[in-house]
Symmetry: C2
Subunit: 321 residues, 2 copies
């Protein structure tokens, strides 16, 4: 479950990012006017469907999992693009495109020469997801409910998150949550903290984990978060990832890769690989290896969704169940 977003990807010099007062590697919410201003400064761009949880859903489908995405689009061109891409990736998507309200959400992604991404998002109608959009039976029938962090923290979508989590827990399903963004964590730490005890599986990168735990030091953060959630998986960029599950700590290196082109979707694809392992009842180490494998494919090209079949890569790597 997450925001339905179409990405606008533009290779950009470092100076442009700094010029707008943006911090590299983070996501900033902007209104339509601000988005227009930034878009006008960007070079030629390409458009492709995005959204953090939607990217994770596309990766899960590529891995061979049965997956549904819950989010909201308008009946405009970008909404049509989003629905086409997610469905043709093999993900069910059943919330009907809305005939009124703001347009489909957009995310301007500046990709700097170091392959880092800086994002400016106008959420559009995606922020207007309401509890009535949830099919509670679908959530109850799923093994895992996965939520992107952007949905939670003084947003209109908080009520939807709460209802979805209740539905999942009532049915005995696992609740997974991704912290999404260091700046988001900083802004909404109190609200997210109130949610943590309902989260079974927490995804974060190093900055997000430290920010959430209120420490500068990753080991302390892992210990603190590991007391709140039964599994915590933290990505460490080129250093791989570390998982805390039931008091045990497992480190797994990054997967070998041919090239690093664009880190967009790295965390989203890691979460997908990890979740695929979880629903196949694999050990934490195997889950983390699957996450690393999916992430290596996605960062080897421009765009946040896999170009190759992840199921085939898993099979070739001998990581299948």
């Amino acid at each position: 479950m997450g925001h339905a977003i179409v990405d606008v990807l533009a290779p950009s010099p470092d100076g442009l990012v700094a010029g707008f007062g943006l911090e590299k590697g983070t996501m900033t919410l902007v209104d339509d006017a601000e988005a227009e201003k930034i878009y006008a400064s960007l070079g030629p761009a390409t458009e492709a469907s995005g959204g953090s949880a939607a990217n994770t859903a596309a990766c899960l489908a590529s891995l061979g999992a049965s997956v549904e995405f819950i989010g909201k689009v308008r009946d405009d061109v970008l909404g049509q693009v989003f629905v086409h891409d997610i469905q043709s990736a093999g993900v069910r998507f059943r919330v009907p495109p809305q005939q009124e309200g703001p347009g489909t959400g957009r995310c301007l992604i500046m990709v700097t020469p170091d392959a880092e991404k800086t994002m400016c998002t106008s959420l559009g109608i995606g922020a207007l997801l309401v509890p009535a959009d949830l099919d509670v039976e679908t959530i109850a029938a799923a093994q895992v409910l996965y939520l992107e962090g952007y949905l939670y923290g003084s947003r209109p979508t908080d009520a939807v998150v709460q209802r979805a989590i209740s539905a999942a827990h009532d049915a005995g399903s696992l609740v997974a949550f991704s912290l999404s963004d260091p700046a988001w964590v900083e802004l909404h730490r109190a609200e997210i903290d109130g949610l943590l005890d309902q989260v079974d599986l927490l995804f974060a990168n190093e900055q997000e984990a430290c920010g959430m735990a209120g420490t500068d030091e990753i080991h302390g953060a892992l210990a603190a978060l590991g007391k709140r959630c039964s599994t915590v998986a933290v990505t460490l960029g080129a250093l791989g990832s570390v998982v805390v599950r039931g008091g045990e700590v497992v480190s797994v290196p990054a997967a070998p890769m041919t090239s690093l082109v664009d880190t967009t979707g790295a965390g989203d694809s890691y979460a997908a690989g990890f979740l695929y392992g979880v629903v196949r009842q694999m050990e934490a180490e195997q889950c983390a290896r699957l996450g690393a494998l999916a992430a290596a494919e996605v960062i080897s090209h421009l765009g946040a969704r896999p170009l190759e079949s992840l199921a085939a890569l898993v099979s070739a790597a001998g990581l299948g169940a």
Copy 2:
């Protein structure tokens, strides 16, 4: 001058192309309903600005030329994308987005595993370019008026082409014309033939040149077309290109390239390189080498417009004036 189009690029198996009765390597005009049907069958896609002459304009700007594009978009999301991309590539574009009428044109591009492209285009408002959209003074001030073939042949835009050519010739400017597509040539040979004597510089690939000349044999086609236009440049894929100018024939090999990923925009970028040589008063051979260099950059990645500065590549290759 050409159709303003946003491309929808989807990697596709050969079977899909054949299943729609499409011929690989050609462009088919479709109405909105047909376009919807084909789009629904495509896998996940990315969107990027396209249009044959618009791609050529973007390459010319990247080479360092002063260039303006004439075409028409609606004030919709795709129109906004088209205008952003062409202007940020450094091309002037001054026809205001229309507030009424069909949407901005779209081209579904199926990229098969052999890197060939098969296109289905719904022209949208781009087909409604009218003589009043032309700024005759701009055309008169230009060294070259370049027209894509898709604009001519029983289309509503024929009158615009005629007016533009008159304006260019009255001012002593060169008129360049690209045959665009073998199927287009087959359908509109009579109309295009009537235009040839007004064309100073003709661009074609092998199939288009043979189709236009009504022969199966490229040398015969070159001889025939060379009598109609003072310069004829024909691309031969991996074999490079051949130019007929004032009775002389010059062959130039393809430029070395790192990889062949997507031939979309190959002819468009060749035309740009060639035209850049023309406005710099270079010999035919130099013009063809510049065309080959630009094409090598564009086919080395997905998408029809250059990712690297073509001016820098020209300089590195020692091909500058």
